[in-house]
């Protein structure tokens, strides 16, 4: 991948100089997650501050299986040399988000808890500054009202010093993901880390659609593990799982959706069905946030076997739905169902993108999707598995 016009050496020189000027002889905490953005931000800051930088990893409880330990070990390797302090705060995050159904409310509660914990850690270490890996799309989306990214404060008028007792420094905030990766490789970040797929700050919270519960979170963790294992060998830019409750809406506006879908797919109406889920998911239509609904298309098993994947036709069905129904931001197609299972659905999502500003649906072979669905259903914690067939726009990459 070439990133024209971006020179890591000169960026690094000017950014370390800027950090030295801002922080002077002070100390700083670096909030790290193991992702490429915060790792690169911490490494830039380490160049500027040396031992006056204290990397901290907050275990929010919304992380993947084994993640806190493996990140701590990876970042501590000699080539990176980031000695990470692990702060366990899972209980606090779960309590803070309990009972919240709305995506924005969940994100804001997460942000509040995240910075309170960071503030406490900063005080313990006598740090006046917090270094974080905010990148350009984070603040563009927050400023544009698309969604509240957990790491955006000053850009939306929150003064971190007054609210949490520290100043924020963001060494990579003007860069896009692909530029951060180039900078990471320049700083000797191992390729598997610099090219790692993104994982959102609020983690599995934003993939646990609607109200958070232990049951949903556990299903999400096991499904995420399966999806990452099975899709890892392919070169999709991002691949993930989400969980939604099987509560369906019967609102009249959606009544004709079945006909729209059957027509787009070129199938008799009797062979397809569309369910619209009650809980809302985040999308972006016409540069405006659209907190809308998810439509799940079901194609009769026998027709599916006859017609195969139908990627082109499904694409048409997806765009017909989001054009006609202004409240729908996402469309998924059912991969497999287990009758009588718990009323939860898992949604698989895989996309290709360069800068995460737009995203195309990856054409994962149907056989692989079926294989993943069978593994997920085998755990007995869900009854349906879908594949998300919505590009960004009108969906976003993450669910909330």
């Amino acid at each position: 991948m070439t990133v024209e016009g971006f020179r890591p050496s000169s960026y690094l020189a000017s950014e370390t100089a800027r950090l030295q000027e801002t922080i002077g002889n002070g100390k700083a905490i670096a909030a790290v997650s193991g992702g490429v953005d915060s790792t690169v931000a911490a490494l830039v800051a380490k160049r500027a501050l040396g031992d006056r930088l204290f990397p901290v990893f907050i275990d929010t409880g919304f992380l993947r299986v084994g993640e806190p330990e493996s990140v701590k070990a990876r970042l501590g390797e000699p080539s990176l040399g980031l000695k990470v302090k692990l702060v366990r705060a899972g209980r606090r995050f779960l309590d803070a988000t309990k009972g919240e159904r709305g995506a924005e409310e969940k994100r804001k509660e997460f942000r509040e808890t995240f910075y309170r914990v960071l503030g406490e850690e900063a005080r313990k270490d006598g740090c006046d500054f917090v270094v974080q890996g905010t990148i350009a799309p984070d603040w563009i989306e927050t400023q544009g009202g698309i969604k509240t990214q957990h790491n955006i404060l000053e850009q939306v008028g929150i003064d971190p010093l007054a609210a949490y007792g520290f100043k924020v420094v963001e060494p990579v905030s003007e860069l896009y993901k692909d530029q951060v990766r180039v900078l990471g490789r320049y700083l000797d970040v191992p390729r598997d880390m610099s090219d790692r797929q993104p994982f959102p700050g609020p983690g599995l919270l934003v993939r646990c659609i609607g109200i958070v519960s232990k049951k949903k979170l556990d299903l999400l963790k096991s499904s995420t593990k399966i999806v990452e294992e099975k899709l890892g060998p392919f070169s999709y830019d991002q691949y993930l799982a989400g969980v939604i409750e099987n509560r369906l809406t019967e609102e009249q506006v959606y009544k004709n959706m079945g006909g729209t879908v059957a027509e787009a797919l070129g199938l008799p109406a009797s062979e397809t069905r569309v369910d619209v889920f009650e809980d809302r998911v985040t999308g972006v239509k016409g540069d405006t946030r659209c907190y809308g609904r998810l439509a799940g298309i079901r194609i009769q098993e026998e027709s599916r076997e006859t017609y195969g994947w139908l990627p082109e036709k499904l694409r048409l069905a997806q765009s017909s739905i989001v054009e006609k129904f202004s409240d729908i931001t996402r469309v998924a197609v059912m991969v497999k169902e287990k009758r009588g299972g718990p009323p939860l659905s898992v949604i698989i999502r895989a996309i290709s993108t360069r800068d995460f500003m737009t995203a195309a649906v990856a054409q994962v072979p149907w056989k692989i999707l079926k294989d993943i669905a069978e593994s997920i259903l085998k755990t007995g914690d869900s009854s349906r598995v879908y594949y998300d067939i919505t590009p960004k726009p009108p969906a976003t990459i993450e669910f909330e």
Binding site: E4, G5, A136, I140, E141, Q143, G144, G145, I146, Y176, V284, K285, G286, D287, T288, R315, S319, V322, E323, K324, S326, T353, R354, D355, M357, T358, A359, A360, T390, P391, K392, P393, P394
Partner: protein, 198 residues
């Protein structure tokens, strides 16, 4: 070096425009629409690009401050101009055309049929795939503007005014999924060069 500021009207992709232009060797950064026109002259701007945004521009009477400023820049600045998405629609509203709620909005990939491939769509005939995100559309191009391309859902995907060197596109040439987007910018740069020499 060619200097082309991007007028920032709060769209998600506005920053990508500056990035794409920088990749083509242009000196480009974001400027607010409230920038006085003289300022663009002082900085030696050769052209302007205006991006998209979340606002609606169906009537000139209900514009946000930002878009009112952007509309004023369109009438006051005599430089080549490329306007994208909402500012493409604003150009129609400003110069006597009409923008309205789209009968069928477009989100994601859209097939663009090119009817006139001179200037900014040079080399893109007969059609190409571009990415879009809009609820409104131009329903009548303003006088003096010629339609260059359309899609199944939207009549005015691209238009130009020969005399004033103003171009508008409904689609987003700046996003990476519009794979021929760089060609649109390259063509625009050629028009800017021609204008400078004339």
């Amino acid at each position: 070096m060619t200097t082309i500021p991007v007028v920032y009207v709060k769209g998600q992709y506005n920053h990508l425009i500056a990035r794409r232009l920088q990749e083509l060797g242009v000196d480009s950064r974001l400027m607010p629409p409230s920038t006085p026109p003289e300022k663009f002259e002082q900085m030696g701007a050769d052209a302007l690009v205006m991006g998209g945004g979340p606002q609606s521009v169906r009537s000139l009477d209900s514009l946000t401050d930002e878009l009112r400023d952007a509309s004023n820049l369109m009438t006051r600045i005599k430089l080549p101009m490329l306007c994208i998405c909402v500012t493409h629609q604003l150009m129609a509203t400003t110069f006597g055309g009409m923008t309205n709620l789209a009968r069928k909005p477009e989100f994601g990939p859209v097939e663009i049929s090119v009817s006139d491939e001179d200037s900014i769509l040079s080399g893109l005939k007969p059609s190409f795939t571009a990415w879009e995100s809009h609820n409104d559309e131009i329903v009548a191009a303003p006088p003096g503007f010629r339609v260059l391309a359309s899609s199944d859902n939207c009549m005015v995907q691209a238009m130009k005014n020969e005399k004033t060197n103003m171009f508008g596109v409904q689609f987003h040439p700046e996003v990476s999924h519009t794979t021929r987007g760089a060609d649109v910018f390259r063509n625009f740069l050629r028009a800017v060069d021609d204008h400078r020499r004339a």
